[in-house]
C-alpha cells in the first residue's frame, strides 16, 4: 500500500492559548512521524486534530492528496488510533471488546488467537478488562493495530506502562508496519531506534 499524509499550516487554539502555529509536515509510506515536546505542549491535541475530533483554527490535513474533511469516513476507515485511554470496556472481556470493534472498521484476516498470543495476552482473553494490570490493558489496546489492516497508525505514548519486553514488542510492530508501507504518527518522550525514516516535529 502507498499512502501519504500532508499537513498544511496547521494552527490550533485551545481557549486563549495557541498550541502550535503554521505547522507543516509530509509523511509518506514507510515513515514515522515522531512528535516531541514537553507535557502539555499539544502532542495529543495535534493527534485529535489530525483525526478530526478537534477543529483547527486554520490549515488542513490531506490524506492521499484529498482534504480529510471531504472524505471523513474513508479517512477514519484507514486509521487506527491508540489513544491515551484504551477505549475498551472494563466490564467486558477482551474477546467481547474486540468482537465489537470488528463492527467499527474493516477486519484484517488476522486470527484473533494468534494476535493475542503475539501480544502475550492469550490467557487473559476471557477476563474482564478491569481485572487486568495497566500494562496488560495497554497490550489489549494494541490488538486493534493488528486486527485492522489500516495504513495509518496514530500512537499516543505507546510505551506507557509497558515492561521492557512490551516496549520491544511495540517497536517490532511499528517496524513491520512501516516495512509494509504503513505510516505511523507517534507521540513519545524517549527516542526510538527503528530502521525507517523518522521525521521529528518539535511542539
Amino acid at each position: 500500500m502507498t499512502a501519504k499524509l500532508l499537513a498544511n499550516d496547521l494552527t490550533l487554539m485551545r481557549g486563549e492559548n495557541c498550541l502550535f502555529q503554521e505547522l507543516s509536515f509530509t509523511i509518506n509510506s514507510g515513515e514515522l512521524l515522531l512528535l516531541e515536546g514537553q507535557n502539555g505542549s499539544g502532542k495529543t491535541s495535534l493527534m485529535r486534530a489530525i483525526v478530526g475530533i478537534l477543529s483547527l483554527e486554520s490549515g488542513e490535513v490531506l490524506w492521499n492528496n484529498i482534504p480529510v474533511y471531504q472524505q471523513r469516513q474513508e479517512f477514519h476507515g484507514s486509521l487506527v488510533w491508540l489513544a491515551h485511554r484504551t477505549g475498551l470496556k472494563g466490564d467486558l472481556t477482551l474477546t467481547e471488546n474486540l468482537y465489537f470493534e470488528g463492527a467499527l472498521r474493516q477486519r484484517s484476516d488476522a486470527d484473533l488467537a494468534e494476535v493475542f498470543k503475539r501480544l502475550g495476552i492469550l490467557k487473559l482473553r476471557n477476563l474482564p478488562l478491569r481485572l487486568m494490570s495497566a500494562g496488560q490493558q495497554r497490550r489489549a489496546a494494541l490488538a486493534r493495530m493488528l486486527l485492522f489492516e489500516t495504513p495509518l497508525w496514530l500512537m499516543d505514548e505507546p510505551f506507557t506502562n509497558l515492561d521492557h519486553e512490551g516496549r520491544e514488542l511495540v517497536k517490532s510492530l511499528i517496524d513491520e508496519h512501516l516495512a509494509t508501507g504503513g505510516i505511523c504518527i507517534m507521540a513519545a518522550h524517549q527516542s526510538i531506534d527503528i530502521n525507517s525514516t523518522i521525521i521529528r516535529v518539535n511542539l
Binding site: S55, E74, G77, K89, D91, L92, E96, R107
Partner: protein, 232 residues
C-alpha cells in the same frame, strides 16, 4: 496512486453491534437499569399512600402520576447514556470509526430504550392497579407509554450528547430536555385520561406516534452533531 478504499462493515452491523454491546454491559451491571425502574415503582406506589385512598381522586390523578413518574425516571437514566464511553475513551474510538456516527448513536439509543423504556412499559399495568384503573385501558396506557418512552429516549440522546463533557450535567440535561418532552407528557397523560373517561382518544395516539417518527428521523443526527461539539 492507490487510494485505500476499505470495504466497510454494513451500517446495520455497526448499529446492532453497539446496541448488543450496551445490552451486554447493562446485563453485567443490572443496578443501572433497576435504579430508574425502582424509582418509577416507588413514586407510583407512594403517591396513593400520601394523597389518601379516596377512589375518585385516585382515578383522576392516576394517568398523570404514572406519566410524570415515567418521565422523571427516564431523565434519571439519561445521564449515563454516553458518560462511561466518554470516561474510558471509547467515545473517541466511536468518533473515528468507519461507521456513520448517527447510526452508532441510534444503536446506543435503542439499547437505552430496551433497558429503560421497555421495562417501564411492562410494569406499568401493575402500578396502574394501585389507581383503580380499569383493565380495559391497560392496553392504551401501555401503548402511550411505549410511544412516549421511544420519544423520550431519542430526545434524551440529544441532551445526553450535549452535556457529556460536563460533570454533574444532570440538572442541565433535564432543563434542555423538558421543553421538548412536554408535548409527550401532555399527550400521553391526557390520552389515558380521556380513554378512562370513555371519550375519544385516538388522536392523541396518532400525535404521539407522529412525534416518535419525527424524533426517530431527526434525533440521531442532532445527537451525533452534539457529540462532536461536546467532545472537542
Amino acid at each position: 496512486m492507490i487510494v485505500y478504499s476499505p470495504e466497510r462493515p454494513g451500517i446495520i452491523i455497526g448499529l446492532v453491534a453497539i446496541a448488543r454491546r450496551d445490552l451486554l454491559l447493562a446485563w453485567k451491571r443490572p443496578g443501572d437499569i433497576l435504579n430508574p425502574l425502582f424509582f418509577f415503582a416507588m413514586v407510583c406506589t407512594l403517591f396513593p399512600l400520601a394523597a389518601g385512598p379516596s377512589s375518585e381522586q385516585l382515578v383522576a390523578s392516576g394517568p398523570g402520576v404514572l406519566w410524570v413518574a415515567a418521565l422523571l425516571s427516564t431523565l434519571l437514566s439519561l445521564n449515563s447514556m454516553f458518560m462511561s464511553d466518554y470516561e474510558d475513551g471509547s467515545l473517541d474510538q466511536l468518533l473515528v470509526s468507519l461507521q456513520p456516527l448517527p447510526a452508532l448513536v441510534l444503536g446506543k439509543t435503542v439499547a437505552h430504550w430496551l433497558t429503560s423504556g421497555l421495562p417501564l412499559v411492562l410494569i406499568s399495568p401493575l402500578l396502574a392497579m394501585t389507581y383503580k384503573m380499569s383493565t380495559d385501558i391497560f392496553g392504551i396506557l401501555m401503548l402511550t407509554l411505549l410511544l412516549g418512552s421511544i420519544c423520550l429516549s431519542l430526545l434524551g440522546s440529544i441532551g445526553a450528547a450535549l452535556t457529556v463533557g460536563l460533570h454533574r450535567g444532570t440538572a442541565l440535561l433535564s432543563l434542555l430536555i423538558l421543553p421538548l418532552a412536554m408535548p409527550v407528557l401532555l399527550l400521553g397523560a391526557n390520552t389515558v385520561s380521556l380513554a378512562a373517561g370513555g371519550e375519544p382518544y385516538v388522536t392523541g395516539i396518532w400525535a404521539l406516534a407522529g412525534y416518535a417518527v419525527a424524533a426517530l428521523s431527526l434525533a440521531p443526527y442532532a445527537a451525533a452533531a452534539a457529540l462532536r461539539i461536546s467532545n472537542e
